[in-house]
């Protein structure tokens, strides 16, 4: 048999070595690239309110953008002021009057903090209530009255956006 030329030998070796599985990834990359652009454009809006897992917010057609304010969260079982648990819902419901003392005390502490930046002074008296959609009005009223007594007179409700013409 005639010996192979060096070039032929190289080609043969190349063919032998090429045993890597050739995956066809074109469509996968297509999908990923489109997904990346979608997600990048979607995440452009910065959220000022993180959507909590424990609270099922009611849906509303309001399109007002939330501001960065003090946050009172009322879940099915607990009341949180600035993500610290201050009272349980069962206790709050048992209170006779309209003011829930632990909530008011926690809000008083927040209210006593000095505002450093002038621009945020107007927002310092605002409070956003993020309440579970199933709580009764009685509890909502107690939270609102407690907030009002602590000096937070501007109340906004956090809701989930929904479009329904």
């Amino acid at each position: 048999m005639k010996p192979l030329t060096p070039l032929q030998r190289r080609n043969e070796r190349k063919g032998r070595d090429q045993n890597a599985v050739d995956m066809n990834l074109v469509s996968l990359i297509d999908v990923f690239t489109i997904l990346i652009f979608f997600l990048l454009s979607n995440s452009g809006a910065v959220e000022t309110l993180a959507s909590p897992r424990a609270v099922k917010l009611p849906e509303s057609q309001s399109q007002k953008v939330p501001k960065e304010t003090l946050l009172v969260v009322v879940t099915g079982t607990e009341i949180l002021v600035n993500s610290k648990v201050v009272a349980s819902v069962a206790d709050a419901m048992r209170v006779d009057g309209d003011v829930v003392e632990p909530v008011k005390a926690a809000l008083d502490v927040e209210a006593s903090r000095e505002v450093i930046r002038k621009e945020s002074e107007a927002d310092s008296k605002r409070v956003t209530i993020m309440a579970d959609k199933d709580i009764p009005y009685r509890l909502l009223k107690k939270v609102m009255v407690s907030a009002a007594r602590a000096g937070y007179s501007d109340v906004s409700f956090a809701v989930r956006q929904r479009f329904e013409p």
Binding site: L40, S43, S51, P58, S60, V145, V159, P165
Partner: protein, 167 residues
């Protein structure tokens, strides 16, 4: 002698680094992405919840009250009487917001300058119903020339207790 021909293999793109990047980026962006947009409804609360301070202003033509009860929704004018009579009965799912929205549209046409409304709720009304009623009172959709536009009805809503029903 046969012609020496180079065996051409198809050109390969070296995209491993690119795929690596994408594989890392996609889960990261998915975890960061927000799919539920939050918004807020502003309340116009009276400065103090003291009834004596709030006097009826005779110059205002209307003091709209929407009273949410467990079985129906009343739409009243505090100066006198019911604006919608009889009250709007609730559906199985909660207050009948569609009928209420239509009623609000009617009242808004009568008092176009008026922006305030009070929402008075009974103690056991769930928060969700309150928000839905607020939505109906605050704004509504109207059809104008094949387009749907949002019209504000009574955007300044305050919240209070419903008066007790006299039996």
């Amino acid at each position: 002698m046969p012609a020496r021909r180079l065996k051409k293999t198809p050109a390969h793109l070296e995209i491993t680094a690119f795929i690596n990047l994408i594989v890392v980026l996609v889960p990261f962006l998915l975890s960061v992405a927000v799919f539920t947009n939050l918004s807020v409804i502003d309340l116009a609360l009276p400065a103090q919840s003291n009834e004596q301070i709030q006097k009826l202003d005779p110059n205002k033509p209307l003091k709209l009250e929407v009273i949410v009860r467990s079985r129906w929704v009343e739409v009243n004018d505090k100066h006198g009487g019911r604006l919608i009579d009889p009250p709007i009965p609730n559906l199985a799912t909660g207050p009948d917001v569609r009928t209420l929205s239509a009623a609000m549209q009617m009242i808004k046409q009568k008092y176009p300058q008026h922006d305030d409304a009070s929402l008075l709720a009974e103690n056991d009304i769930p928060y969700e119903s309150i928000v839905h009623v607020m939505d109906a009172v605050r704004a509504g959709y109207q059809v104008q020339d094949k387009k749907i536009v949002v019209t504000d009805y009574f955007p300044n809503i305050s919240v209070g207790d419903a008066p007790v029903v006299r039996q």
